[in-house]
């Protein structure tokens, strides 16, 4: 049971060793994919949380709620305006997580949100502005 989440830290909670607690108390394997933490302000962490069961993962997410850390599943953070998309494939060259690929038979763009690590490469690469990503908020 693994998923990618953006964790939103506030100035008060950022001092807590959240990742250590996730690992020790909730038995979660944490993989940090990206971090944006500004001292004294707020931070955003893109992490992959891997648990043995959905129940364990949910327990960890519930705990994050109680200490005021917001979490959002990354798969929901990337939006792709398929109507606007012309299937040029320009984005596929910068998507190193493999979330965006071009089907070399139909030459249609294929998006696998589960693989997205919210790097934002596609947002900049798309000439039609089809991708939006809200990392944090």
């Amino acid at each position: 049971m693994a998923g990618k989440y953006v964790l939103g830290y506030s100035a008060e909670t950022v001092s807590e060793p959240i990742l250590w607690k996730l690992t020790k108390d909730f038995d979660i394997r944490v993989n940090i994919l990206r971090a944006e933490i500004s001292p004294g302000q707020e931070g955003n962490l893109l992490v992959e949380l891997d648990a043995e069961s959905e129940a364990k993962l949910n327990a960890a997410l519930d705990w994050l709620d109680t200490i005021g850390v917001t979490w959002v599943n990354v798969a929901k953070r990337l939006s792709w305006d398929e109507e606007r998309c012309i299937d040029c494939g320009g984005c596929s060259g910068v998507c190193f997580s493999g979330a965006i690929t071009l089907d070399r038979q139909t030459w249609k763009l294929v998006l696998d949100r589960d693989k997205c690590i919210a790097c934002g490469g596609c947002v900049k690469a798309c000439p039609m502005g089809c991708f939006t990503l809200d990392f944090g908020e």
Binding site: I86, D87, C88, G89, G90, C91, S92, G93, V94, L102, R104, T106, W107, K108, G121, K124, A125, P127, M128, G129
Partner: protein, 388 residues
């Protein structure tokens, strides 16, 4: 070679009688696996091509009509985007790559797309006022049904081949060739391979001044050679130039065009551009033309250029079979490749053009005059003092 000869008239007669065989360039390339040019020349009458890619050197003439009292418009903007008004009183040229002064992501191409879509666009213009054109200011909304002409006039389209781009430096480059990641992490290319119009007729035997062209969903014309028209680039053994060579100046009635085939785009930290759908129907006049239209992706080569170095030096020669596979081998490692023009749309365009040809809706006519046989491109010298 030289046994089989079909004239434009004969091909048109075959089309009229419903006997003509029309294939897309991709289908013809597939035939090339098993058939000879002679067989293809016998079997196939017309081959349709297509591309849908970014063509910055595009724009549109527009005639707004005269208001009462009239104005000799200067300093014209459309939805805030400056357009060129130095052409008489109420004519203007909307350059596709012109940008809004406060929003670099919005520009002329967006205005052209909006007008084609039938959206209202805000026109503002000022003038000094003359005896014959007394009005000094105007602000109104325009719409494609309320302006006189909208003539797409693109100075340089349908580049014959284009180099593929990569980046040797240690920082990401944002270019008109898309996002180029550091240290040769990716390669971008933009030509539609075997479907690309000018790669199916590399010496322009059938394309010249007056040739009908599928342009933005309408039937336009080749007006002239495009700017930077270059016949002197080195070619491979199939006669394909190894980098950007010939170009076309295309015109057409934008009121008949569709936003399926004219789309505004924006390249990060580069600017606004316009995606233009262009296609030609090429008659298979003889074995030589058959040989040309049978070109396959592996036969089309281009230069891999380093956009991280001034002058974009060529690093390698690559072919489109490899570029289109998703990765190429370069200096002992695999680099991923990505297109910038839509191969899916190019394929759709060629298919749509094939249907138009079969239905007799797309004219097959020989050029009125050929494009230059020899032409080369020069750079811009910096000259401090005016030459005598």
């Amino acid at each position: 070679m030289g046994e089989i000869k079909k004239s434009w008239e004969e091909i048109n007669q075959r089309l009229a009688s419903g006997k003509a065989v029309v294939l897309t360039a991709e289908e013809t390339a597939e035939l090339a696996k098993t058939e000879s040019p002679e067989e293809v020349a016998k079997k196939v009458d017309v081959v349709t091509t297509g591309t849908f890619g970014a063509m910055c050197s595009s724009g549109m003439f527009i005639n707004f009509g005269h208001p009462e009292p009239p104005i000799r418009m200067e300093h014209i903007t459309l939805d805030g985007v400056p357009v060129f008004g130095g052409v008489a009183a109420v004519d203007a040229y909307i350059g596709a790559s012109e940008t809004h002064p406060d929003d670099g992501r919005f520009g002329g191409a967006h205005i052209i797309e909006k007008l084609i879509r039938g959206e209202e666009v805000y026109l503002e213009a000022h003038a000094k006022g003359t005896d014959c054109y007394p009005r000094k200011d105007i602000a109104t909304y325009i719409h494609k049904d309320r302006v006189n002409e909208m003539i797409l006039t693109n100075p340089r389209n349908a580049y014959q081949n284009y180099p593929a781009a990569t980046n040797s430096t240690h920082r990401t480059l944002y270019t008109y060739m898309g996002t180029l990641l550091p240290s040769f992490m990716n390669v971008n290319y933009s030509t539609s391979g075997c479907l690309s119009p000018l790669l199916n007729d590399p010496y322009l035997r059938t394309i010249g001044i007056g040739s009908p062209v599928f342009l933005g969903g309408a039937i336009g014309s080749v007006a002239w050679n495009g700017t930077q028209f270059n016949t002197e680039k080195p070619v491979n053994d199939r006669g394909i130039p190894l980098s950007n060579a010939r170009t076309l100046m295309l015109v057409g009635n934008a009121k008949e065009m569709s936003a399926d085939w004219i789309r505004a785009g924006y390249y990060e930290k580069y600017g606004v551009t316009m995606y233009v759908g262009v296609g030609f129907a090429i008659p298979v006049l003889d074995e030589d033309m058959a040989y040309r239209v049978m070109i396959r992706n592996e036969d089309i080569e281009t230069s891999l250029c380093d956009y991280g170095v001034e002058g974009h030096p060529t690093l390698a020669r690559v072919n489109y079979r490899d570029l289109m596979s998703g990765s190429i081998e370069f200096r002992g490692k695999r680099i991923r490749t990505a297109p910038l023009s839509s191969y899916r749309r190019a394929r759709l365009l060629a298919e749509q053009l094939k249907q138009l040809v079969l239905q007799g809706k797309f004219p097959l006519t020989a050029p009125v005059r050929p494009l230059p046989e020899h032409s080369r491109v020069q750079g811009l010298s910096i000259i401090r003092d005016r030459r005598a």
